[in-house]
Amino acid sequence: MTLRFLLPLLLLAAPLAASAQLAEAQVRLKSAITEVLTVADRAGNRSALPEKLRPVLEKHVSFETMTKRSVGPGWRQFTPEQQQQATQLFSTLIIRSYSSKFTPGEHPAITYQTAVEPAAGRVDVPTSMVYQGSHYTVIYRMEQVQGWRITDVVIEGVSLIANYRSQLDAQFKKGGANAVISSLTQSVSRPQ
């Protein structure tokens, strides 16, 4: 009797659980973007933006995962200190790059499309964005890293991770972890 009642419920629950995951990731992304925009508006001038945005972004973006993927297989030959150093440098670079795209007070109009699950524990949220009169297709790739976090951003088909992978992999082949770190240091210290 109970089984007969429960079975359809159980069958229903499986797809529901999957879509619940999608919804959860999407909600998380929306709140992250709102939070970032609020902080950006309060920052006032652009030079203060990276500093103001860092704590918010660190909460929603997994820079460790990003750095690891951007380096690629060479990451295993990094010592834990080198991994930490590379993550620190890479996050500085990404945050600075991201901040420079902002004009405080100007908000993009974002339309969220149906999220998809390319693999277990992963969610892609495609969005289309209108910013300063231009259309952009942006896919946020999210993963479970202590809660849903952004691990890659694909703008107009260009994946941030794939882009840096092509550069950092070349550095790694040239001179291992040290070359990667020194090239990152150089990029970070380059005047704006």
Partner: protein, 285 residues
Amino acid sequence: MKFRASTLRLLLLAVSPLLTDCSSSATKTAVKPGAESASTVAATTAKSKVKAGDKGAPGSGAAKDEEVDEYATTTADVSDPLQPLNRGTFWLNDKLYTFILRPISKGYELILPRPVRKGIDNAFENVKYPIRVVNCTLQGKFKRAGQETGKFVVNTVGGVGGIFQPAEKIPALANLPNEDTAQTFGKWGIPSGPYLVLPLLGPSSLRDTVGLAGDYVLNPVNWPYFWYYSNQSKHQWVIVPPLANTLRATPAQMNTYDTVTKDAVDPYLSARSSYSQSRAEAIKK
């Protein structure tokens, strides 16, 4: 006459590497230096490492193949046998942008406010309708060709010659992906060929360079120019539409260049990766 001779020369120039490329493609893939295909090398080294027993990673034993993530490795990097030459052109372009194009672009942005520039951009994009409709048709996207035609009519009539974009308010006509000749070649299965950095124009590939010639011919702003050369007439004004088109497109080009190179570790590789990724995506759409 003059026009015909120069086009022939251009076509020959464009096609000749293609011909030689075909004949030697087999040997080329065999001798291809390992460093060129970063992603495939990455994948194979990772595989061998996994086989070897994952000893090089203290504390990340559970990391599996996470670094060799499918996101990054499936995106094909373009082959770049002419890298030394390309890097040279890239360096030259950087200087050209810094000392010539950027000042021009800044001046243009200073003189005209953003809404006016947007209107001018819209009008020039609207005029490029033949590029889009011909390539939609060549790719068999007949529905899209119809949409493009609808968009062109609505924007031309309702948007005062395309300065405004009322079609963007119509869901069926809004935000259509861009089409060009090189995308048609890609759709037909023609591979991108070697990566090329063109003087002034920047990142391209052999296929896309040939495609640019198609776009050039299909762009109505160049039509008076052709007519001028075929008739040897005295109308100097024909140079104005293509020049204006180049000028109005410069700020966007500078902006893209900055976005791609400013925070890069290796600006050349960043531009190459961004270009090949975005082209692969554009062909899919």
